[in-house]
């Protein structure tokens, strides 16, 4: 999977590293600001009220 992505990145090695870093950052941002805030209330880790 990761090797497949790497092979399909265009350009010389430096550009590929830059693109791969960008991809990783994009996935991180998606997780931190979209997926986790959505999933968190559904998970039983941090409920603090009674009743």
């Amino acid at each position: 999977m990761y090797a497949w992505i790497w092979r399909h990145l265009p350009g010389p090695i430096a550009l590929r590293i830059a693109l791969a870093t960008l991809l990783v950052l994009a996935v991180l941002a998606l997780l931190m600001f979209v997926v986790f805030p959505w999933a968190e209330p559904k998970l039983p880790f941090n409920h603090v009220t009674t009743g």
Binding site: W4, V48, T50
Partner: protein, 323 residues
Amino acid sequence: MPESPTEVIPRIEDEPEHGLYGGHGEYGDEDDPYYDHDYDHDEELDADEQPAPDVPADGPVRKTVRTVGELFITAGLVMLLFVIYEVYVTDWISAGKQADAAAELNKEWGSNTVGGDQQRSAHYSLADGQGFAKLYIPTFGPDYKFTIVEGTTDADLEIGPGHYKGTALPGQQGNFAVAGHRVGKGAPFNDLDLLNSCDAIVIETQTDWFVYRMLPKQDEIAGWAEGKGKAAKCATNKVQPLGAPYDKTVGQEIVLPTQGAVIAPVPYGQPPSAGQQAALLTLTTCHPQFSAKERLIVHAVLSRQIPKAQLKAGETPQELKER
């Protein structure tokens, strides 16, 4: 290899260096042309067309196993990232919201000067998610200060500790109940389990300071007068078990999430006639840490009320200096 084109020969000299850069040599066993059907046969790749003789070619099984393995590793990383999100990133997001709420409350208190008449009854502008009081727990250090907002929804609690709607307000008879996060989101109640009986919990409103003190814990009640009750904090402030109908209201308890009675005016009991109730403060958070299995509850009772009019400008109650 007889089928090797002659033009490849100079490239073979480059091969070790090429591999070091993590190009096609990074995953040696993936570089044979059968790995992927859309593998481009551009001349750059020809050098890699000869797998080492003892490395088996990639069949569909090998490819599937590798992909599944990569997915598992990815799932593990995502879970690790979730913990980082829960413990650090939410802290960072909440810190901004808490600062905004505090700034707004300070502005409101500053602009809306309380005249002589209004000192008799505190006025609160209660709007969901808006701050209306400040919480200090001197035991947790001089910088422990949170703005309490109205409401206990997820959005409210992301800003700071939240007041259970409909429960008493600071200083009133009944039960001023506040929920707060224990992990992430600013974690206002992270150390709530470290609070001891007689420790001060100070609430600041626009007009007054209210000093609550944590009630005796269950195991301290029996020998209170001879035991913990003699400690300076308890004796000088006359903290003692409240007696009926508050016999079940102890300083610290761990309850099930369904036990809403802990925030009732008289926890687990029938309230006496209005005017006879004690002024309680109840803090709730999750327990154990990282779990929603139970709730940690701290009950405190009003010990002292100091109208701000009695203090010099900028003066704070001496309780804030307790440790």
